[in-house]
């Protein structure tokens, strides 16, 4: 029975991982870019949410999702327009990796200097601890909320890409970013919007993280690897598999923790490694 609970909680934790990885997968799939600063933006959003909570006490943090996401979108748009478009234009796949790595280090240390290294958290009120019983199992509302949001986010993004005009433009730009210009599309703008979306998703993940647990400026890099594992397991551009990957990692971590406490993350990493060895391009494989 306890195993079933662990399994279910693993799935729910996986929802959070998947949400972390969603923005990464988007950028990875569209621009073939690896954003190593993704984790730092997640944490930055958490700090912003905490700031909003101090400005508007008594308001449920869930209402902050919209302003946080909007701010993150703007930040992502500017970041891409001003810095990252240059990195992508070099056509060297490693330049964006190194540049975003640098951004990550800068952001991380900046947050330490400005906010201090002490753990912070967002008070979720009753939501954080409320739960329900089902067939003798105890399940928290919050993890369910996260999983539902994750699935919704993935679904919404998938719909946007497949059925909207903007999604059409994004997919075409991701295929042939030069030719698309002869159809009046501005790739630099498209990339910037995609990055904005990516950080918007990251910020939602950050806010939810802050509700669940305390965080420090280093929480980003701690979660980043997990987020990457989600994306890489799924393979380039496959959101469906990224969602599955996230859930699998969540399960692996909690099951591992049960078997061998203190080293839960180890099992998630080992699972990731195993998948990567068998399919070096992820489950869905790389698009040609």
């Amino acid at each position: 029975m306890a195993w079933l609970e662990t399994l279910i909680n693993g799935v729910l934790l996986g929802g959070l991982y998947a949400l972390f990885g969603l923005g990464l997968a988007l950028v990875f799939g569209v621009m073939r870019m690896v954003n190593l600063a993704h984790g730092e933006f997640v944490v930055l959003a958490a700090y912003f949410a905490v700031f909003l909570a101090t400005q508007f006490p008594g308001v449920s943090p869930l209402f902050f999702i919209a302003p946080v996401a909007l701010a993150a979108f703007g930040m992502g748009y500017l970041l891409q327009r001003l810095l990252l478009n240059r990195a992508v234009a070099t056509d060297d796949p490693l330049t964006p990796v190194l540049v975003t790595f640098g951004i990550a280090v800068v952001l991380r240390n900046l947050m330490v200097e400005l906010f201090g290294a002490d753990p912070r958290a967002l008070d979720g009120g009753a939501l954080a601890t409320a739960g329900f019983e089902i067939g003798g199992l105890r399940i928290g509302w919050y993890p369910v909320l996260v999983l539902v949001l994750a699935v919704l986010a993935f679904g919404a993004l998938q719909w946007l890409l497949q059925h909207s005009r903007f999604g059409l433009v994004v997919r075409a730009t991701s295929d042939h970013r030069e030719i698309v210009r002869t159809m009046g599309v501005r790739p630099r703008h498209v990339y910037a919007v995609v990055m904005g979306l990516s950080l918007a998703f990251a910020s939602v993940a950050g806010l939810l993280l802050a509700l669940r647990t305390s965080f420090t400026p280093f929480s980003g890099v701690e979660r980043l690897l997990g987020a990457f594992e989600v994306v890489i397991i799924g393979g380039l551009g496959s959101f469906r598999w990224a969602l599955v990957g996230g859930i699998a990692l969540g399960v692996a971590q909690l099951v591992g923790q049960r078997l061998d406490s203190n080293a839960g993350a180890l099992y998630a990493h080992l699972l990731f490694f195993a998948v990567l060895m068998v399919r070096p391009n992820g489950i869905a494989g790389a698009r040609t």
């Binding site: 042939h176 030719i179 210009r181 002869t182 159809m183 009046g184």
Partner: protein, 232 residues
Amino acid sequence: MPLLEVRELCSHYGDLQALFDLSLDVAEGEATALIGANGAGKSTLIRAIAGLGSRSRGAIRFDGQAIEAEPAERIARRGIALVPEGRMLFPSLTVEENLRMGALCGRTGHWTLPTVYALFPILQEFRHRPATQLSGGQQQMVSIGRALMANPRLMLCDEISLGLAPVVIEQIYRAFGDIRAQGTALLVVEQDVTRACRIAQRVYCLLKGRVTLAGRASDFSAAQIANAYFGH
């Protein structure tokens, strides 16, 4: 006044110069052919006109307006459409989605999804298939259809017969009649000299980035064309 005027155009790949003071005209509604051996600069010229390649010196005027300094996105909206070498269909998109991409620049006119499908009926059958799953000839039709969806006044066709069977090429070129009938001018890069001279009113022969022959196809003998092509 010609629809497209290219005057003394120079184009570079890094330090390498590919076009040398090249001049060329395309008249409204006419088909003009670009012939020449590989590496003569035909694709370079096409790309430069479309705004994708370097235009280091010289002028390009479209409908009297200077476009040599404009980005490709703006040139597209003026009514110049490109059927690129190698087709460059979007693999993540279906046939119909590829066609819809062509209409994005917002120009309206005769060419819409129904009329493009009427021109190339086989595409309607495959409209929800991923575009790159079609045969070479069908993909070429999608590429042409995509350019048509922009209702261009000038369509640039870069090596559209490459790798296709003669029967398929004939089928595609037969469509050109309808395209010209709607008022679109054509600048066509064509490897096959005979076919080029048959479909086009004017012919330009390029060699090593320069024009070696220009005029009405009927004005030249086969020997003259061969000389211009290979250079003697």
